[in-house]
Structure formats: structure tokens, C-alpha cells
């Protein structure tokens, strides 16, 4: 597959969204709603549950599965209240020493009047800030589109993993072609140039692990779950300051 094919694949209809990952990986999930400020943003689904007997806080950017579902979840484009909900849940996890697991799948944070009025930039900035200094282990997994700041808001983690046909980029290839070359037809070329596919990202050190998708079979979810358990188990007993310092170094290297 070339880069543009992967871009298309990352947005493909029928691809499992965050709620599917949660239902396959998290036991006894209890969804917790709202930012306690303005609204409950359905583009971000969050809550608590167990992974392999370990309590976790789970946050996912949810695109929705069918048309109505997509509309309900605003196509996975979060408003400021979505990032504020995520932050609130991360702070709650920190208080109880619970690891945080994020599933990221968004073409980007929502662009609109309300989003600007309520401080989309401030919300994403604060989310990065809170996450990067969170005193509990964090893992983010890009499961489709990792669209720019809207994705980074939930990717300031100890490690970032990505499934093999997902992308993570500063801008969409369409946006890049149109802004840089004033030619939206050059999307495929932009897809290559941006180095936004899983394998390229691994070479650049922007992700730690590329996960084979195996047609999103039961085995795929079972193995991913086992990897997540192993990852968090490996973080046990590490003092919070060391976690934060390692995270600092992870991003400092860029």
C-alpha cells in the first residue's frame, strides 16, 4: 500500500472505532460524562473499567459507526468541552493512581464558532500540558486518523502506538496540498511527503510501536489487550517523577 492508500484506509467505513476497542479490551466499562463546565461532548467517550484485572481510565475519540451514530459523535471532531472532559478524567485517574489509556481517531478538533468562543486552542493546550505532567502511566493508541493538534491533545503519553493502516500528521494531505501547492489534486503526493503512515512515524520515533491489524480479528484485540496489560504492568512501581521525566525526554528529543 502506498501512503495515500493508507490515508484512505485509515478513514474507511467499517473500520473499528474507539467504542469497539473499548468493548473488546475493557471489562466492566462505566462511562462517565461531562466536563463539569459546559457540556458532555460525545466526540470523546471516557470512563473507568478494568484491563486484565487492572483498573484503568479509558478515553477515546469516537467517530461513530453508522450515519446517525457519526452525527451523534460529530464525526470524531471534539469541541473544547471534549478535551476538558478528557482532562478531568485524567486528573481523576491521577488521584487514584490509575493508568490512562487513550484511543485516538480524529480528522482534527472541530472548527467552528462555538469551539473558538469556548477556547479550542486553550482546551487542547491545557490537555497536552496536563497529560504530559500526569503522575500516572499513560498510553495512547492511534486507531485511525491522528489528525493534528486534535489528536496530540490525547497523545502526550508515555508511549504512542499506532495500528498499521493508521496515520498521524500535522495536517491532512488535502490541506497540505491545497495550502502548500494550491493544488488539491496533489493529495497522493502530499500523503507521501508528510511521512504520516505508521511505518514512517516509527522511523521518526513519533510512535513506539506499529500494531499489525490482521483484519481487526478477535486475535488482534486479544493480543492488543495483552500488550496493553504488559505495558502498564511494566510501569508498576516506577515513581511518578520518573514517569514524568521519561515523558519529558520522549518529547524533548524532537
Amino acid at each position: 500500500m502506498n501512503a495515500y492508500e493508507i490515508v484512505l484506509k485509515s478513514r474507511e467505513k467499517g473500520r473499528p472505532t474507539a467504542v469497539r476497542y473499548i468493548s473488546r479490551i475493557v471489562e466492566g466499562f462505566i462511562e462517565l460524562h461531562g466536563d463539569r463546565r459546559f457540556a458532555d461532548d460525545k466526540a470523546i467517550v471516557g470512563g473507568v473499567g478494568f484491563v486484565g484485572g487492572m483498573p484503568v481510565t479509558v478515553i477515546g475519540i469516537e467517530k461513530g459507526e453508522d450515519t446517525n451514530d457519526k452525527i451523534a459523535h460529530n464525526f470524531g471532531c471534539a469541541h473544547p468541552e471534549g478535551y476538558r472532559k478528557a482532562m478531568r478524567l485524567m486528573k481523576e485517574a491521577e488521584k487514584f493512581g490509575r493508568p490512562v489509556l487513550c484511543f485516538v481517531d480524529t480528522s482534527g478538533a472541530y472548527c467552528g464558532i462555538g469551539a473558538e468562543e469556548r477556547g479550542q486552542s486553550e482546551a487542547i493546550a491545557s490537555s497536552i500540558l496536563e497529560m504530559i505532567r500526569l503522575k500516572t502511566p499513560t498510553l495512547s493508541i492511534v486507531i485511525g486518523e491522528g489528525g493534528s493538534g486534535g489528536a496530540l491533545g490525547l497523545c502526550a503519553a508515555d508511549e504512542v502506538w499506532i495500528t498499521e493502516t493508521s496515520t498521524y500528521s500535522v495536517i491532512s494531505p488535502e490541506g497540505c496540498a491545497s495550502i502548500l501547492w494550491k493544488d488539491s489534486a496533489r493529495v497522493a503526493e502530499a500523503s507521501e511527503c508528510l511521512k504520516m503512515t505508521a511505518d514512517d512515524l516509527a522511523v521518526l520515533g513519533a510512535v513506539e510501536r506499529v500494531i499489525p491489524e490482521r483484519d481487526f480479528s478477535e486475535e488482534f484485540f486479544a493480543d492488543l489487550k495483552a500488550d496493553i496489560v504488559r505495558f502498564f504492568r511494566g510501569k508498576r512501581g516506577i515513581p511518578a517523577e520518573e514517569l514524568v521525566e521519561a515523558r519529558y525526554k520522549r518529547f524533548r528529543k524532537f
Binding site: 462517565l32 461531562g34 487492572m54 483498573p55 481523576e92 488521584k95 490509575r98 502498564f232
Partner: protein, 305 residues
């Protein structure tokens, strides 16, 4: 046979905050419907305050105080709530009570009458127990005592519950029902908001869990203090939750409020409630939340990988 019960039963329980000092007036028993009601042996049957249908009390109790005909949530007493959700309950601070601090006219008589009628010293019952096996400190507010209004006794008992829980490293589960502060205790009542908040803060600083269960109604000074200071805010389905009561708002803005305004579902949409739970599932949900928060991430069981 069709009763015209509407007239008699539409007499809503008076908001105790408004009726300060006015002793309850005996109602004339001229309405034939009242005679019909009187003919129902006590405790055998009751009338749903929403749909007006007569329901066997046994059916109502078995259904968690939810009307089997229309699904309306009947208000339940503090102790009924505890017995629904808490096992091995042991009451604490039961002797706590205060009097007419400000010498407010008629308040002594009011307190005496409510104590006589309810068998409670004031509007909250506190203690410890287990929910789904998880040990916790509990407080539960009682609508019969001036709609759970918070005066010195209520504030003191809730504060002591948080202090007790902080000392023993227990989570707190609070079943909240309140119309707000108790007017007859004036500034002392207002200070309960700050006092309880200070105790919540200390408990939170110790890294301990507090789950607030907001039930119908949660308004005024209680909503603006410990009700919204919890780690997890659960609302009972359909509960009225807000700062000002709907009638006050309607009078202020001279507009009719939309259907569903200030209900639990509205609050969840606006971002203020973590989850809405049906009464019959309350115990199970609280137990799950307590277990997740009690679970130690560093001591997770080994699973085969």
C-alpha cells in the same frame, strides 16, 4: 369506579422553606375522595403522586419505590435509601441535634413536630456499611425533614462523616436530597456550606473517593456545596437538580421553563453529571464504582498473556 382524586391529591407537600414557622394545618375532610383515601388501610395501599393510581404498598416497596403503573420515582426516606443500597449499616452521630439557634419564631415547635412525626432528630442519617462488599462511610438525607434542608445538625453530621472517613481511609457515598439551606438557621446554615466543603476538601486531599448520588431534589445551598464536590457525580434518573428551584426561576424571568429543564438528563447533557442511574440499579452501580476506585493498579492480578 372512578375517583376524582385530583383535587384532593394535587395538594402538593408545602415547601417547608416557604412555610417557616407555620404549623401544619389540619385539612377539612369534606372531600369524598379524602374519605376514600382514609378508607384505605394504612400501609396496604398508597396513591402515586404522579399518575394518581392506587398502588399496593407492597408492590411499590418491591419496585424500589417506583410506581409500577407510571414509573414515577416516589421520594424515599433516608433509611429506606440506606436499606436499598447499604449492607451491614451502623449508624453514627445519631444523637447529634441542635435547637433554635437564632430564636427564630415558631422554629422550636416546627422542629418538635418534625421530630415527633418522623422519629428522626434531623434531616440526615449517617454511618458506615458496605456496598457490594466495599466498606464505606455513608450519609443519606431525608425529604420529610423540611425537604432535607441543611441547618447546623445536617452540616455537622455530614462534616463528621467526612472527618471519620478521612481518619479511617474510607470512601464516602452520599445520598443527597435537599431543597437547600435552612432559612430558620440564617447565617449558621450558610456556614454549613463552607464547613462541609472544607471537610470534603480534606478527605479529597487524603486521596480518598467521594461519590455523590443526587436525588430528587438537589437544589440550593446543598447543590452549591458538597453535592457538586465529588469525584464521581451520579444522578438518579429524572431527579431535579439545580441552584434555584424552577418556580423561582419562572417567577424571575416570567417565562415557562422547557420540559426536562434541570432534570438529571439535562445536567448530563450540559456536562455536570457523570452518569444517570435507575434506582433499582443503584446498589450495583455504586458497588462497581467503589470496586474500580479501590482496585490497586500496582497489584493487578496476573492474567495469562
Amino acid at each position: 369506579m372512578k375517583f376524582d382524586l385530583k383535587k384532593f391529591f394535587s395538594r402538593k407537600p408545602k415547601n417547608e422553606l416557604e412555610g417557616a414557622g407555620v404549623p401544619p394545618q389540619p385539612q377539612p375532610n369534606a372531600d369524598p375522595a379524602a374519605a376514600a383515601e382514609a378508607a384505605i388501610p394504612e400501609k396496604l395501599a398508597e396513591k402515586c403522586e404522579k399518575c394518581g393510581q392506587i398502588v399496593l404498598s407492597a408492590d411499590m416497596d418491591e419496585n424500589f419505590g417506583v410506581c409500577p403503573k407510571c414509573g414515577h420515582y416516589k421520594k424515599i426516606t433516608a433509611r429506606a435509601r440506606i436499606s436499598m443500597c447499604v449492607d451491614a449499616f451502623e449508624e453514627l452521630f445519631a444523637e447529634e441535634q441542635s435547637g433554635n439557634i437564632l430564636g427564630f419564631p415558631g422554629y422550636d415547635e416546627k422542629l418538635a413536630a418534625l421530630r415527633e412525626k418522623t422519629g428522626e432528630k434531623d434531616g440526615v442519617v449517617c454511618g458506615t456499611g458496605t456496598i457490594g462488599g466495599e466498606r464505606c462511610a455513608v450519609f443519606s438525607m431525608d425529604y420529610r425533614f423540611q425537604m432535607g434542608s441543611m441547618g447546623h445538625t445536617v452540616g455537622e453530621k455530614i462534616t463528621r462523616t467526612f472527618e471519620y472517613a478521612a481518619e479511617r481511609r474510607l470512601p464516602v457515598v452520599g445520598f443527597i436530597l435537599s431543597g437547600g439551606a435552612r432559612m430558620q438557621e440564617g447565617i449558621v446554615s450558610l456556614m454549613q456550606m463552607a464547613k462541609t466543603s472544607a471537610a470534603v476538601a480534606k478527605h479529597a486531599e487524603a486521596g480518598l473517593l467521594y461519590i455523590a448520588v443526587l436525588t430528587d431534589p438537589t437544589t440550593g445551598g446543598v447543590s452549591a456545596s458538597f453535592a457538586f464536590e465529588a469525584d464521581v457525580i451520579v444522578a438518579e434518573k429524572g431527579a431535579l437538580i439545580g441552584f434555584a428551584g424552577p418556580r423561582v426561576i419562572e417567577q424571575t424571568i416570567r417565562q415557562k421553563l422547557p420540559e426536562g429543564f434541570q432534570r438529571a438528563e439535562f445536567l448530563q447533557e450540559k456536562g455536570f453529571v457523570d452518569l444517570i442511574v435507575e434506582r433499582r440499579e443503584m446498589k450495583e452501580k455504586l458497588s462497581a464504582l467503589l470496586k474500580i476506585h479501590a482496585a490497586d493498579a500496582s497489584a493487578a492480578e496476573e492474567v495469562s498473556l
